[in-house]
Symmetry: C2
Subunit: 321 residues, 2 copies
């Protein structure tokens, strides 16, 4: 094992599980005879769309917030995100009774701004470029002393996201594969740590839109590719691996598979229609890749993390506007 | 207890639970901090939208099919339904390896016809009037000797639907209320039997669209009102109580509450948006009535059966076409 691996392991995931247990939902695992017969496999869907704030992100944010010591907690937490991590950190902070400050791009959708505000967080708007939001965040941290909780590359966040895989393995034995979407890699690397520690024969796979295949390219070349603001419907997966998630993914993940935009929408609709679960496009990416035959799962036991369910119900991808 | 009560009790529900266990999903119970804070109650949602065929109807159909003796099973089963019971009976018959014949009105939506056919059932089309479909069904039964399984007023169906409440009470203690939608009354009467037998202090409530309030009027007047092809978005609740369900509802149900069409759509959207569950309008009726304040549930523990999730994703009620 490379000496450059970040200092996080399955024991951190176990501690995170104990820490967030009073706050996070233990989400159900659902199966579908229809999907099993379409794929020839036994697929177990872990419903993180039913997690608090509608996404697995609550696990990592809660682990970060509840692992702060008293003095740090008093100074609050801060992050930049217009996605699920923003809501997750806001809710986790509220549950601990501390301040959260979220830096959001000034063109963030109103519904997302309102959701974060609804959880009681302070919002600071920044320009839309990555360097703008980082400068604004640095100002916030300097001013308040708040603890920065990165959406994916924070070790506490990685350990928190791994708790989802612990729950899967407690409930489902003898898995051949666990597949998660990959954007910043917090969920994928946390999952890989947990699975490697508990069930080393189970292989962990990341799934990514072909239109945003920076993780695939980083994984296969060994060089970290930044994400160049890619165009994909899977808006949760536009970010790239980081200094912590990249080596973890390289060490513990077996493969990254990619899928088309059309397949993502088809898989999303299939889950809504046949499984009655509202999932966001990012959550459909693993199933989309499987439906396109990107992994040989015939007669295998496969867990998929349905990572989130935050979508605009007025703008569904299969309804023309 | 009236001597006119049909011969079905909680022991039949327990036998049904054992009988269908190999085939039916034990569906999860989900909570929502958002809904709890909106209502001031603790609400437990039993997710029968995640049941096989996407509705609780599979429980009753499976109990009917698997309680047939060998000779009767050989002659198959038959029913009239263009709704969830049609798919439920078709799947249950396929699982037992026997014939199912479903009488559907000739203007039934193509997607529903295809779904039933997809489960391997034979479809016989009839005229759209109730007497047409009953005549056609009588012809089918005469010709094949098939066992008629009524969508709601069959005692085996009633016992099967009650198994959902058994699961709720196994998982959630000290419930003040269990609320289900009411159309034909199979779910409501089965639930009432099960709850009365296991937790007699818990009150069972039926919820109905005000636009289709035949059960409410039957319940309050003591005279069985037929349903007059009412116009409600809750298409699963257009039928009326029957000779078996009516006395059970009168005896074991505490109240029937009604709600508006607007509240049904709002509650449906709330469940999709905040709970990430695809539910059909009928399933939203209990929550809609609660959101309108039709029952005092402050600080109470309330279970709601989310009865089904079969909707046309191309025709959502909040999207103009």
């Amino acid at each position: 094992m490379s000496s450059s691996l970040p200092a996080v392991g399955v024991e951190d995931v176990r501690r995170a599980a104990a820490r967030i247990k009073p706050y996070a939902h233990k989400t159900p695992v659902i199966t579908s005879a229809t999907v099993d017969s379409m794929t020839g496999a036994s697929i177990f869907f872990k419903c993180e769309n039913l997690q608090r704030v509608g996404a697995f992100k609550f696990r990592g944010a809660a682990n970060a917030v509840f692992s702060l010591d008293g003095a740090a907690a008093l100074r609050g937490v801060a992050t930049h995100s217009s996605g699920n991590h923003a809501q997750a950190l806001a809710l986790a902070a509220r549950l601990r009774g501390i301040d959260a400050c979220i830096v959001m791009p000034k063109d963030a959708p109103r519904v997302k701004v309102d959701a974060v505000r609804g959880y009681g967080a302070r919002i600071v708007f920044s320009g839309n470029a990555p360097e703008d939001r980082e400068r604004t965040l640095a100002d916030v941290v300097k001013e308040t002393g708040a603890e920065f909780v990165h959406p994916s590359d924070d070790l506490r966040v990685i350990a928190g996201q791994g708790t989802c895989a612990l729950e899967i393995m407690e409930e489902i034995a003898d898995l051949d594969f666990v597949i998660t979407p990959v954007g910043g890699g917090g969920l994928l690397s946390g999952t890989a740590l947990a699975v490697h520690g508990v069930s080393p024969k189970t292989r962990v796979i990341g799934a990514e839109p072909a239109a945003a295949d920076d993780a695939f390219r980083s994984f296969t070349t060994g060089t970290l590719f930044p994400s160049g603001n890619p165009k994909t419907i899977a808006d949760g997966l536009r970010t790239s691996l980081g200094p912590n998630t990249f080596p973890l993914v390289r060490t513990f993940v077996t493969a990254i598979i990619t899928t088309t935009e059309e397949a993502i929408v088809r898989a999303m609709r299939l889950v809504w229609e046949r499984m009655k679960l509202v999932i966001e496009p990012s959550a459909a990416v693993p199933l989309a890749a499987l439906m396109e035959g990107k992994l040989d799962i015939k007669e295998k036991r496969v867990a998929i993390v349905l990572s989130g369910g935050n979508v605009d119900l007025d703008a569904l991808p299969w309804i023309a506007r």
